[in-house]
């Protein structure tokens, strides 16, 4: 299935703009060093953390704990709260539960060997003598760099899985849940997860010496993306109280909120609230603002998931195309359609509430 020529042009144009955005942290560092006269690369620290602000040392154990096990605990606790308050609308059926649990547990065992092999074998082979060559980058510069590198790359990875029909079925599992919440936050086809570009990009930047910045940025990113998937709509007070509207205006353009991300998981775009054809941002929503791929309505969709969902088997959802669905007419079946209803692609301009 070929993609529309207008869409192809739009993608090309946005990739060129992205190259400029990727270069912004470098331009900021050049400006900083030009005006301060600092030349930290002449006497680089052994680790980036050596030159980081001291107050970070106090919160470092907490941040490391969150990265190691804290987010698993948060996901389980928040998920239990959502379930207890009936926020899954009785749609968390046993077939869906199986998919969510497999997608949550299996990558915890399958991904570490892949990450370790990439970090310990592939990177030293591809970038010899380059370990820790950028430890001189200031903490703030590293954070700016990692935030843009990691999140803009994930934006593109995500957007292309919606806009290129050949990629859609790898991402479909994340959209097949008819509910929002912690249960489905990690629901992904494993092939989608294992080829997540930003994981390897950020690993490479850590290998080059930006590990301390990455540690902090990834915690903030995880908090934002988890809370955007939650069925606890923490952003509603920002829309309800007039005094908070200026904060809401900034917030909803800067980061993914439950409202904008729930819209992305809606099962229709026809009601003016749901927008599965856009709102691709993960940590930052600003990419959707810049590339005009988002809508902001401050409303929540009536229903989630896919109109053409056939409740496919857990193994097909987790491991397609290695395992196929037996459900007739399913996108995940042997001779199923590439895209069930229409191509979930770009088709709109940014709308403001």
């Amino acid at each position: 299935m070929a993609i529309d020529r207008t869409l192809a042009k739009k993608i090309t144009k946005d990739i060129i703009i992205s190259l400029f955005i990727y270069s912004l942290p470098v331009l900021a560092l050049i400006t900083y060093f030009h005006f301060t006269g600092e030349t930290p690369w002449l006497n680089p620290p052994k680790a980036q953390s050596d030159n980081a602000p001291h107050f970070l040392k106090f919160i470092e154990p907490g941040i490391k704990g969150l990265n190691l096990w804290g987010f698993y605990a948060i996901t389980i606790i928040l998920g239990a709260v959502e379930f207890a308050f009936g926020l899954y609308d009785n749609k968390w059926k046993s077939s869906e539960r199986k998919i969510d649990i497999v997608c949550f547990v299996a990558p915890k065992f399958l991904m570490p060997p892949v990450s370790a092999w990439f970090t310990l074998t592939v990177l030293p082979y591809l970038l010899p003598h380059s370990a820790n060559i950028f430890t001189w980058v200031p903490f703030w510069g590293g954070c700016f760099l990692i935030a843009i590198a990691d999140d803009l790359t994930q934006y593109w990875y995500h957007r292309l899985h919606h806009q290129l029909p050949l990629l859609w079925r790898f991402h479909r599992t994340h959209h097949s849940a008819p509910y929002m919440g912690m249960a489905m936050a990690g629901r992904q086809n494993f092939i989608y997860t294992v080829f997540f570009s930003q994981i390897y990009l950020t690993s490479a930047l850590v290998y080059l010496g930006l590990g301390y910045s990455a540690l902090f940025v990834l915690v903030v990113k995880s908090l934002i993306t988890l809370s955007a998937h939650s069925s606890i709509a923490w952003d509603k007070p920002f829309y309800k109280y007039k005094v908070l509207h200026p904060f809401a205006w900034v917030l909803e353009r800067l980061i993914s909120t439950p409202a904008t991300h729930h819209a992305h998981h809606a099962d229709t775009s026809d009601d003016g609230v749901g927008y599965y054809k856009g709102n691709f941002g993960n940590m930052f929503f600003i990419w959707d603002v810049i590339f005009k791929t988002g809508i902001i309505t401050r409303k929540f969709p009536q229903s989630y998931g896919l109109k053409h969902y056939k409740a496919e088997e857990w193994y097909a959802q987790f491991l397609w195309p290695l395992f196929k669905s037996k459900k007739e007419g399913s996108e995940l079946a042997k001779n199923g359609p590439v895209v069930g209803d229409e191509v979930p692609g770009y088709n709109g301009e940014l709308k403001i509430a």
Partner: protein, 40 residues
């Protein structure tokens, strides 16, 4: 059962993933390397 068509799709997907790693890495890594070379 995986088909030839699946293999082609997988290959294209992997190629896109690799491009999405290399392009920003070249811009950012190359940029940081240039800072070192250009500013004295």
């Amino acid at each position: 059962m995986i088909t030839l068509q699946d293999v082609v799709i997988l290959a294209k997907k992997i190629a896109i993933s690799i491009a999405a790693i290399i392009i920003p890495l070249v811009v950012l890594g190359g940029g940081l390397y240039l800072i070192k070379q250009l500013i004295h």
